[in-house]
Amino acid sequence: MPKLLAALVALSFTACLDPAEEGNLVPRTAEEDPSIPQLSFNGATFHLETFGDPAAPAIIVLHGGPGGDYRSLLRLRDPVDGVRLEDRYLMVFWDQRGTGLSQRLPEGEITYDTYDRDLTFLIDHFSPGRPAVLLGHSWGGMYASRYISNHPERIAGAVLMESGPLTGALFDEVKSGIFHFDPLSEWLNDYVWAESIISPDGHARADFLRGLGSVGDSQPGYHLSTSDREPFWRMGAVAAAALVKEGMVDGKPAWDFTRGLDRFAPPVLFEASEQNTVIGVDFQKKQMGFYAHATLEVIAGAGHDFPWTQPARTVAPVLSYLDSIGF
């Protein structure tokens, strides 16, 4: 046994790859790799790309999660009948603070307030002197609604693509359907067993594990495609945990991103997938009630990942909506 232990320890020291080193298990982030499109503001470096005329009206894209990234939203750039969103608008795609290929930060720097300030910076930077449109998917819809609640004057309109629950109470109504926590489920066992080999210590390993947790059939009610899976660059485990934690009071969901939405004058476009049985059509109809003027577009033949699997059906109503509000 001493020889075996010595061999193990020697292997440990000579094994050349460090799981905590960026670029091994997960990609490097923008502040570590200058080749990644980026913008630094508010004390952090963000992965960010724009498409379209910088002088055109700006649409800020808010990806899902929390803790996801914008890779799965890039098909929104695809043309619909020969027209792309970026032919008419400045499209701003970015990975939110602490997620995707944006810089990793300590939990204390991931708050609703810092998220609020980041979005304010982007609107001021890309849409100086005029309101922007927010286009948010899932958590991005929640993020957009919270921002509209706090800064309605900065927003000309919003597209909420199957937004997550805008209040803790609504989350309570659907929480049993959001994640499938069967102790015998394959995805859950894969995740927890992997965690006995790779610990969620440090950003790289925690992000790697969170990615594994996202790929299994953890949300069957969302009807995500398995033949055309949503891609991502890198999950943001710390950011996701920090934002979820901030929404809780005494362990219970307590957020309310709806205050004042009924006084938001511009119309808002909701999109919902036909197949999502948890936060799909019926759920979005409830959420529309928070806004003074909301319309709903159902994306046929798709689940929650419709911006990836059905980009044309997703973008066509967005183009019509933007025309209708004179943006």
Binding site: L11, L17, W193, I197, A206, V215, P231
Partner: protein, 215 residues
Amino acid sequence: MKTSSISLFAALAIALPLAAQEVTNLPDGTRQSLTVDLGLQSALVTRAAYARHIGPGLLYARFTLPVEDLDLHDFALEAGGQIPALASGNWRLHVSFAPVLRMTRNDFFDAAALGVRAALMPGYQGDRWGLMLELGYEKMLATHLSHSSLYRSVAYSGAKDGWYSSTGGTLQAGLRGGWRMGRVEVTLAAGVLASEGLNAVAPPFYGTLGTSYAF
């Protein structure tokens, strides 16, 4: 992992009067023991162990399998020893140490992890019952990772395959209690788990129920 609701070892756990490491005094003349337990520890698992008792100590081998899996891509195997480092009457401090092999295959990677497990178990060890604190640390010293084509296509095409040093470690603190009826001991263990960096793991607790047979 291939989903299956009940594994062979789960069936054994139900059918046989066996358990995990004993926390009561063994009957005179005991040379060997077999244990099986079932419970939640990182995953819903079944474990089977064989121990050879040598004087006050023992050498053991233990095989752990997630219940939902029978394809043998996910398992753990440890083989080591346990001795009473201190003893006073029925009060003992057991120390155990074992090399560990953990294997897994999932949607994103295959892994073969080599590590060590050490545990301290102070407590009362009587003839009829026992109760011990168990403090454990399992450290993965070297892990070979191969990323799947799915991970490369949906997430990171540049992921590096090969031997990784120190991919993780798990801390364990809990209680293990047992009740002996002749050659059979029934054991219940429960406690908390955390990563070596003191971050929460899922689930952050463990609990196992088992039996052992001494002969």
